[in-house]
């Protein structure tokens, strides 16, 4: 690949990279304690869970899908794990059951999309409320579930460090490497790009698109389950209300801001990292500056909007995008 700065700056990725670097430099100069090891670790850690969910979303988006139901799957499967643990089921069994539930939900959603040919955005939007409603009705009554006080598993994940780096960051880094290798080194990974670029052509070339879709949504649900476990370990509890929060938009913000177009076929793990870095740096800096809630939302909105506008100016609509359309 031939990288030149000028070329780089003409992509959305380049614009966001420049924005990120700019904010980083500004904060580093004006906030004395911003560039300390402690704060940087806290910054990365605060983005690890959103980043992990964004990895799942990125894979789905690359295949020209979208998974709005990840949060529902996450909160329901992990709340169930905690309820089971409270009822005395051994830890290993609860994790297995929770994982199976997440995988089953993902596979069903994937099947509806692949075999029912329902557009992913509608299928996952509807599936989200079905999963959440079913969970609230049958698996747990209260939205808030505490980690059982004697659970050394969650305490270990939430509190320990490996070479001074919190386990949560290590898990996120591990998944980044895994997904990166999957997308760049495996046939299945390449198939995702093919599906995203042109589903019909991908099918005609002999890719088993339907089973692949089922597998993809299963993987996305399983990653969501892991992210939920990290939340439980991190805050000692999980609140099913996250399903009703703006978390899903934050995930889409990271994916889109990082430069993974919603029309599919493009994007790498580094785009997720870039999006997460910009959002994380902004949030961390604004917390240090003690900026109020409304202004923080305003800044987030303005940054996203400017990234889109600059991208639109640098990369005007062409024949292909106008035919294919954005999501």
């Amino acid at each position: 690949m031939n990288w030149s700065l000028g070329k780089m700056l003409k992509t959305q990725e380049g614009v966001v990279l420049a924005l990120t670097a700019g904010t980083l430099v500004l904060f580093a100069i004006f906030l004395p304690s911003f560039l300390t090891a402690g704060n940087l670790i806290s910054l990365v850690r605060s983005m690890s869970i959103l980043g992990l969910l964004s990895l799942a979303m990125a894979m789905v988006v690359i295949s020209r899908g979208v998974d709005i139901s990840v949060i529902a799957t996450m909160v329901v499967s992990v709340s169930w794990v905690l309820v089971l643990q409270r009822n005395g089921v051994p830890l290993g069994a609860t994790l297995l059951l929770g994982g199976l539930l997440a995988a089953l939900v993902g596979a069903l959603i994937g099947a509806v999309i692949a075999y029912g040919e329902i557009p992913p955005i509608f299928a996952t939007l509807a599936a989200g409320s079905v999963v959440y409603g079913a969970g609230r009705t049958w698996l747990f009554k209260l939205e808030m579930q505490n980690v059982p006080p004697d659970s050394s598993f969650f305490t270990a994940i939430g509190n320990s460090q490996i070479f001074g780096i919190p386990v949560i960051i290590v898990v996120f880094a591990g998944f980044c490497i895994l997904v990166h290798l999957f997308l760049t080194r495996t046939r299945l990974g390449w198939a995702l790009y093919a599906m995203g670029n042109n589903p019909a052509a991908a099918r005609n070339s002999g890719f088993a698109i339907r089973p692949l879709t089922v597998g993809l949504y299963t993987a996305s649900s399983l990653i969501a389950f892991v992210a939920g476990l990290l939340i439980a370990a991190s805050t000692n509890s999980i609140n099913a209300r996250l399903y009703n929060s703006t978390m899903i938009y934050d995930i889409l913000l990271i994916v889109v801001l990082g430069g993974i177009g919603l029309n599919g076929g493009h994007g790498r793990v580094r785009n997720v990292l870039l999006g997460a870095a910009l959002v994380g740096i902004l949030l961390n800096g604004m917390t240090i500056l003690n900026v109020n809630f409304t202004t923080q939302n305003l800044v987030k909105g303005v940054v996203l909007l400017s990234a889109i506008v600059i991208d639109a100016i640098l990369n005007p609509r062409d024949e292909q995008t106008s035919q294919q359309g954005d999501l």
Binding site: S42, S46, R136, L142, T235, N236, N244, L283, N284, T287
Partner: protein, 338 residues
């Protein structure tokens, strides 16, 4: 003289005959007209409950108690669950006004959104009882926490730990929920009423968490990086402050940072007191609120006053829970209320 004696004897005889007769009638007792009226006034009435959302300790607790009384007294009780959406809540309230039940129990998402609709409902003759989160409109009744008082109590507790010469510093962090909710605006007023009298206390961070524990965690994590000598923290709700407490615990500063939070007194919150995550837990006592709610519902349904004519407010007492008084009386479970 003789006639008087006769009279007394006659009286005695009459008593001897009549009292047992009355007693004989008494085996079937006397009808209490007030009880009859109480039951007939209430049976067949309709009460609707519009919570922020079902599925969390507060609303499930109140609903369990209100349903129990409705079953006992034979009035209908139904719940409209807007699942945290103010829009859905507004629509539910509008449709309830159309259906005109006798009473609506409302849990306000913020002080403004429902204000006009609540007035409209009362104008149509529907009585309004607000629970725990107030609207700017005063209605037939409000039962719940006095958020100003909670703020004052929380600030007083933190001042006691962090004023001049007491803690590692005078630095305090505040994390709020959603900036427009009654719990935020009035509680902040209470907090600053106290802190303004103690200029030595420095509020180093005041951030909204949107009731999200993970967000609360990462805010506290960042704040502790900037202010490793932080002395105290005031959180607005136990459900989110598990995150704040986790950040403090993960930084190994549980003995240093004094964390005050508030909530409904559910056993889940109390558990975090006994394991040392919360230093002080100000409980507004959901079972008590449920009892008062029930009394108010019965009073309003019986009252001949028109909706909106008489306005009442009752701020229920708070329970300060720390490690010394985590017990079943102060900490409730949902199953026990059902």
């Amino acid at each position: 003289m003789k006639s008087t004696l006769k009279y007394v004897l006659a009286m005695g005889l009459a008593l001897q005959v009549c009292v047992p007769m009355a007693m004989a009638q008494g085996t079937k007792g006397l009808e209490n007209p007030r009880s009859t009226k109480f039951h007939s006034d209430l049976s067949g009435k309709t009460v609707a409950f519009l919570p922020l959302s079902m599925g969390f300790d507060l609303t499930e607790g109140w609903a369990a108690q209100m349903r129990k009384q409705a079953d006992r007294l034979g009035y209908s009780f139904e719940i409209r669950d807007p699942a945290w959406s103010t829009d859905a809540g507004t629509r539910a309230l509008q449709s309830l006004i159309g259906e005109a039940p006798d009473l609506i129990v409302v849990h306000n998402p913020d002080i403004q959104s429902y204000a006009r609709l609540l007035k409209q409902a009362q104008a149509k003759g529907v009585k309004i009882l607000q629970i725990n989160l107030e609207s700017n409109t005063t209605t037939d009744s409000y039962v719940g926490a006095d958020w100003t008082e909670i703020g004052e109590q929380a600030a007083n507790a933190v001042v006691a730990q962090c004023s001049e010469g007491k803690g590692p510093s005078n630095k305090v962090a505040i994390d709020t929920g959603v900036p427009t909710a009654a719990s935020d605006v009035f509680q902040l007023d209470g907090i600053y009423r106290v802190l303004d009298k103690h200029p030595e206390i420095e509020v180093v961070s005041q951030q909204a968490t949107e009731y999200n524990a993970e967000k609360a965690r990462s805010i506290m994590d960042t704040v502790l990086q900037q202010h490793p000598d932080l002395c105290g923290s005031i959180g607005i709700w136990d459900n989110q402050d598990t995150g704040t407490a986790s950040a403090i615990k993960q930084a190994g500063k549980q003995d240093q940072v004094f964390l005050v939070t508030s909530g409904g007194g559910n056993a889940v919150g109390c558990e975090n007191v006994s394991n040392g995550m919360f230093d002080l837990y100000i409980s507004y006592n959901v079972p008590l609120q449920g009892d008062i709610l029930n009394a108010e519902i019965a009073r309003l349904l019986q009252s001949d006053a028109k909706a909106g004519d008489n306005k009442a407010v009752y701020f229920n007492p708070l329970t300060l829970i720390d490690k010394s008084n985590v017990n079943p009386r102060n900490c409730w479970t949902l199953d026990a209320l059902k």
